[in-house]
Amino acid sequence: MGRLAKYWAFMRMGYLTYLAYRFQVLMNFVSYLLIIALNYFLWKAVYSGHREIAGFTMEQMMTYVVIGWSARTFFANRIDRMIGDAVRDGSIAMDLLKPTNFQLYHYFRAFGRAVFMFLFMTLPIIVVASLIFPVSLPSGKLGPYLFPLSVILSFFLHAGISYLTGLVAFFTRNNEGVLRFKQLLVEVFSGVMIPITFFPDWVQNALFWLPFKYIAYAPLRIYLGMEPLSKVHQGVLLQIMWIVIIYLAGQVLWHYAIRRLEIQGG
């Protein structure tokens, strides 16, 4: 019970931090609508003269774009940057004093932010965007039920990837390149920008062995009802598998990272 209360407090902290930035959140909301609008026009032009491209019809693609970018507001996190900043300015010393699992502390703090984003970004964007652009409801038997679960799993999967990336700050001061490289991998290969069926076959085969496509592509396929039942279960199980693998990798890497830490000043 005490343990749970601790992580509940971290979540609340992550949530409350963002209440202070209402104007930024509003502007962020506008930015996301602009991205969705640009994608709408682009895909509409792309589909002029095509019924189906890379396995997606135009209707499916429009829904993919709106739901994909909206879901991104929920599963995005700043864990990698927060760890980097804390190592650089030394405030990591305070984090280490907390009698808690550093990795779970970051997961739950970020989850508090995600809850905030869900209420004030994801939902409003879906509502406003579906008034402007053609968006269909989740289809298939399981879409409506398993999609929310799958996106929550996406959050923890992405949180794990960010955590691993964040730990790089313990090994090098100049971690900006690494952070951006992770961002590149996630943006491109999660499928949030473009379904991975657009990539050449060898890229798609390689992505089967990597966690990225389970962040956005897999949940969106569930939403669109494009997967048979067995594949849906398999996708969710693979998400869980990757969450566990990355969590354990984070524990191992932490063990080495903490020995490298030197706090300057004091």
Binding site: L42, K44, G49, Q183, I194
Partner: protein, 285 residues
């Protein structure tokens, strides 16, 4: 005391307004600032490299997106894949120039107004806009220029277009005009922080909107096209000037309107900036 003498001359020049003398003075100053900036950047080579690689990664996101999109779809409403790459590259070159030489503008609200550094700038007998811009050059942002140039030259070679010296020269002029348009748009935006306390999130919205300039404006609906042409002239930062090379007859006029749009918007921007500095009230301490 050389510094006192120097300061006297700067103030003198501004008062008397010998335009040419003042220009030469600022050019010399710019040379000194640039060489200083290069030296200080070379002192932290690792930071530069890290920033450069980071910028390259961000660029690659966009590039990988259009490449994987157009592998499947070689045409976009009458535009050939390579033509789109050219427009995309053009927008990145002009945007990259803006980021490299004028990024410091975007720091106005946080680093200058809120932290109070703007007072320091106003105390010096030099033009405040010039000082703000030259105080830091972001050499690492040249990654954007390099990616843009690569895309343009790839597109040109795939299209089988060989350009003559006159075309290269015009292209360079158009790129500079496009960069000036970015400069004008963002100068007006950041100037608003002299009146409104905003911390620059409007700028991020404008950077998002910049994404619209990477594609032919014909893919948008009428309203968006009108906005991009007449209100926030992003269409002039890549699409219209690219028509010089991609040669669609109907856009001939717009190509040569680009420098004019740049000049007018830059003058408007400097006027807004001046009004802003007059309205500026220090945060105090």
């Amino acid at each position: 005391m050389p510094s006192a003498d120097w300061r006297y001359r700067a103030g003198d020049n501004q008062k008397k307004g010998h335009a040419i003398k003042r220009l030469i003075f600022y050019i010399n100053l710019l040379r000194a600032y640039l060489s200083n900036s290069i030296k200080s950047r070379l002192a932290y080579r690792e930071d530069f490299l890290s920033g450069f690689v980071a910028g390259l990664m961000m660029q690659l996101i966009g590039v990988l997106f259009v490449f994987s999109l157009f592998v499947r779809v070689p045409h976009l409403m009458g535009w050939h894949r390579e033509e789109i790459f050219f427009i995309f590259g053009f927008s990145q070159v002009s945007l990259g120039l803006f980021f490299t030489f004028f990024s410091n503008l975007l720091e106005l609200s946080d680093k200058y107004i809120i932290e109070g550094n703007f007072d320091r700038i106003l105390l010096r007998p030099l033009d405040s806009f010039f000082q703000l811009v030259t105080e830091r050059i972001y050499w690492e942002e040249s990654s954007t220029i390099i990616v843009g140039l690569s895309m343009m030259s790839y597109a040109l070679s795939r299209l089988g277009l060989a350009l003559g010296p006159a075309e290269y020269l015009s292209l360079a002029g158009l790129v500079l005009s496009a960069c000036a348009i970015y400069l004008a748009i963002f100068t007006i935006l950041v100037s608003l922080t002299f009146w409104f306390n905003d911390r620059g999130s409007v700028v991020s919205v404008m950077l998002m909107l910049e994404g619209f300039s990477r594609y032919p404006v014909t893919i948008y609906n009428r309203t968006v096209r009108l906005v991009l042409t007449f209100i926030i002239p992003y269409a002039f930062t890549a699409f219209f000037p690219s028509m010089l090379i991609l040669g669609r007859e109907s856009y001939r006029l717009y190509v040569w309107l680009t420098p004019a749009v740049a000049a007018v918007s830059l003058m408007a921007a400097l006027a807004v900036w001046r009004a802003g500095t007059r309205a500026y009230q220090s945060t105090g301490s």
